[in-house]
């Protein structure tokens, strides 16, 4: 559901001014949490960023669970696995993936807390659960955060947490707000009943800034930036989960340094012999000029994003890979580079 929007004269309103926080250390903070939600507008690279964070955490030896919220999501694919189901399955060393399924979580929930046996799919009762779990928005959203909180609390047979880190590839922007806020909405809906204390517990997990964090994803384009800033403001206003960083995907690389540019001019206007040695230089120059103009446009949007939100912006360059593990690895190494603490 889209929240009401206030009419604005200009499409990009002037934002508060402050010094943009540095990205250094943001990644370490994320990897140190128990739950990380990755949220943003559709097509901004949520899934890849979620997969990259999972890979980076797994590399430090942590047991990671990736949670796919969208029914058509492909977090498993981004981790090099063919698909995910409701049962966590290993996708990479130390990384498992599960696909969240409202009906299944509902059954699991009933079974765990009320000892209600699993119902056959064919019975009318199961369909009634379906109705409640998928049609009535509160409980459905609740099952998303509920399952995540439930996994956070899961312990192995030695009593240790089953997962060190849970990374959630969230629903597209509008809906994620409802999901993050589901526990609170439920508290209003369910005044009595046994579910109340559990709902309160789930809300505590989600809004505990030591345990839980959220990362935004954006693109350096006008609408995605406007919407990311809005989403950021709404999440902050909701005072639920703590926003730690924003990953700005598909940044156009900065133009070549001045020395290269001077050289380019000399090569382009050089004598016949020089031009014969580098015959494609004119074409290269024109392409680099296009890239430079695109960079300027993208940089202006990046600037708007940086001054519009109060969290560090981590830039990931435009990549030539196809989706899947290759892209995830490239994004992971780019995240590492961008967030490495600058040595004094």
């Amino acid at each position: 559901m889209c929240p009401p929007r206030c009419p604005r004269r200009s499409i990009l309103p002037p934002r508060r001014r402050h010094r943009p926080p540095s990205a250094a250390g943001a990644l370490d903070e994320l990897v140190g949490k128990r739950i990380v939600f990755v949220a943003g507008k559709g097509g901004t690279g949520k899934t890849t960023v979620a997969a990259a964070i999972a890979l980076l955490a797994a590399k430090t030896g942590k047991q990671v669970l990736g949670v796919e919220v969208e029914p058509k999501g492909d977090l498993a694919g981004a981790l090099g696995s063919s698909g995910a189901s409701f049962k966590p399955a290993l996708a990479q060393a130390n990384v498992s993936v599960l696909a969240l399924h409202p009906e299944e979580s509902f059954h699991e929930y009933l079974n765990t807390f009320f000892k209600v046996p699993r119902l056959a799919r064919a019975t009318p009762l199961a369909k009634v659960f379906d109705f409640i779990a998928t049609a009535v928005p509160g409980p459905r959203d609740m099952l998303v955060v509920g399952k995540v909180a439930f996994e956070e609390r899961r312990r192995d047979d030695k009593g240790r947490p089953a997962w060190d880190l849970i990374v959630v590839d969230c629903s597209a922007s509008g809906h994620v707000l409802a999901q993050l806020n589901a526990a609170r909405s439920m508290m209003q809906l369910v005044r009595g009943g046994m579910i109340r204390s559990q709902v309160e517990w789930i809300d505590q997990v989600i809004s505990d800034a030591r345990r839980t964090a959220l990362v935004l994803t954006a693109l350096p384009e006008e609408m995605p930036v406007v919407e990311t800033v809005e989403l950021h403001d709404q999440i902050v206003k909701q005072r639920g989960v703590r926003v730690v960083a924003c990953v700005l995907n598909r940044m156009i690389r900065a133009p070549v340094p001045p020395a290269s540019r001077r050289l380019l001019a000399q090569l382009t206007t050089g004598d016949a012999e020089v031009r014969a040695r580098v015959p494609g230089i004119g074409s290269i120059g024109a392409d680099l000029e296009l890239s430079e103009r695109l960079h300027r446009t993208a940089e202006a949007q990046a600037q708007r994003l940086r001054s519009g939100i109060a969290v560090p912006v981590i830039e990931v360059p435009l990549l030539a890979t196809r989706t899947g593990l290759a892209t995830t690895r490239a994004v992971a190494s780019s995240l590492t580079e961008q967030t490495a603490a600058v040595s004094p």
Binding site: K41, G43, F114, P137, P255, L263, R277, P279, T297
Partner: protein, 389 residues
């Protein structure tokens, strides 16, 4: 800038869409769907005397910006001729823009299909209704089609162009009518609500254990309300189903055309391919694919590639150039030129491979729109895209 193709040839996308009454632009979020629908509307109104309504779903800001308007509400706004003329655009027809009001469409649908006014009111007042009409999966998608159907029936415009809601998978709306009828129509819900429809107190005994448990879970009030609401929805099932059938029929007719919009980024492109396939399965007429924001062909030029490779790898080149140019040429400076270009080259190569996959979808008319980087006014930029369509 790559050479822009001459517009208005007999084989343009717009010439294939000219006689249609409804054009549905679909594609995943962020590919420029709204801009392309606005450009299609502009092209149609430029090249024919049709009155064209471009519809967008909330938020309408992108459409407003593209058309140089301050704001677009649910009331149709005509793009002023004077403003178009200032941007160098002459129109034969008329270009109108509006935002779809999906909430009121849902309300109207309930009012229309409910047996009595009282039934309609009970549904509209139920606190679950708000949530359902707002965030029920597929209701946005379906409501867009429902609103489109209403407007088509009213017949005020020659052409309706709509960009479908931004959904992760733009297929949702195709399944939306089915899902909506499934949702309202689940027969078993009457099993829950019972023939007397007084909530679950009057219910069949088999449901009792479930209801006791649900009581513990949610509190009794919640379930009673759900049951009552479901009983009311039950009454409108027939009407909704009939309507969905009509909407489907329109979407499959020869008066309608689908245009898939995509970029060559792997994930939206994959969705676009899937979408084309599904449209075929649903027997819905796909009229063309618009591939937006393509990199120039020069990035795949062989001479340029050879030169870039030499700049990056030829170890004698810096020395040779130092002699020829009369000053010290740093290998790093050469290298930076090559690396920046080679990265873009790799992207262009990947995109070209993707583009060639479109052929696998059979005889689909495809138009590519190059990346524009010049800062022009929105309307001028739109006219430029319209020219290519």
């Amino acid at each position: 800038m790559t050479a822009e193709r001459t517009p208005r040839n007999h084989d343009s996308l717009v010439s294939r869409l000219q006689e249609l009454e409804v054009i549905v632009c679909c594609g995943s979020g962020g590919v420029g769907k709204t801009t392309i629908s606005a450009a299609l509307g502009l092209a149609l109104a430029q090249r024919s005397d049709r009155k064209v309504l471009v519809l967008t779903v909330d938020p309408a800001r992108r459409l407003a910006t593209a058309l140089g308007l301050k704001d677009i509400g649910t009331e149709p706004v005509t793009v002023p001729r004077a403003r178009l003329r200032r941007a160098g655009i002459e129109m034969q027809g008329e270009l109108v823009a509006a935002m779809l009001d999906m909430k009121s469409t849902f309300d109207r649908m309930v009012m229309r299909v409910a047996p009595t006014r009282r039934d309609a009111e009970r549904i509209l007042e139920n606190r679950f209704y708000q949530g359902i009409s707002d965030s029920f999966i597929g209701s946005h998608e379906y409501m867009a089609m429902e609103a489109l159907y209403e407007l088509h029936e009213a017949g005020e415009y020659d052409t309706l162009i709509i960009d479908t809601p931004p959904s992760r998978n733009a297929l949702d709306f195709l399944e939306a009518p089915n899902r909506l009828t499934d949702f309202v129509g689940a027969r078993l819900l009457s099993w829950l609500s019972g023939p007397t429809r007084f909530g679950f107190r009057a219910i069949n005994l088999a449901a009792a254990p479930f209801l006791r448990m649900a009581d513990r879970l949610l509190g009794a009030d919640v379930l009673t309300e759900v049951a009552e609401f479901v009983a009311d929805l039950q009454k409108i099932y027939g009407g909704v189903q009939e309507r969905a059938r009509d909407v489907y029929k329109l979407l499959r007719s020869s008066r309608v055309g689908f245009v898939v919009v995509t970029t060559l980024e792997p994930s939206p492109f994959g969705e676009a391919e899937y979408f084309c396939t599904r449209l075929r399965e649903y027997r819905m007429p796909l009229r063309g694919v618009v591939v937006n924001r393509t990199w120039p062909d020069s990035l795949r030029n062989h001479t340029a590639l050879a030169t870039a490779t030499a700049l990056a790898e030829d170890q004698r080149l810096p020395e040779w150039l130092t002699e020829r140019l009369g000053h010290r040429v740093q290998p790093d400076a050469l290298h930076a030129l090559a690396v920046n270009w080679l990265e873009l080259h790799a992207i262009a190569e990947r995109d070209a491979r993707q583009l060639s996959r479109l052929a696998r979808l059979g005889d689909v008319h495809a138009v590519t729109i190059p990346l524009f980087s010049e800062e022009t006014s929105e309307l001028e930029g739109l006219a430029r895209i319209a020219n290519l369509l």
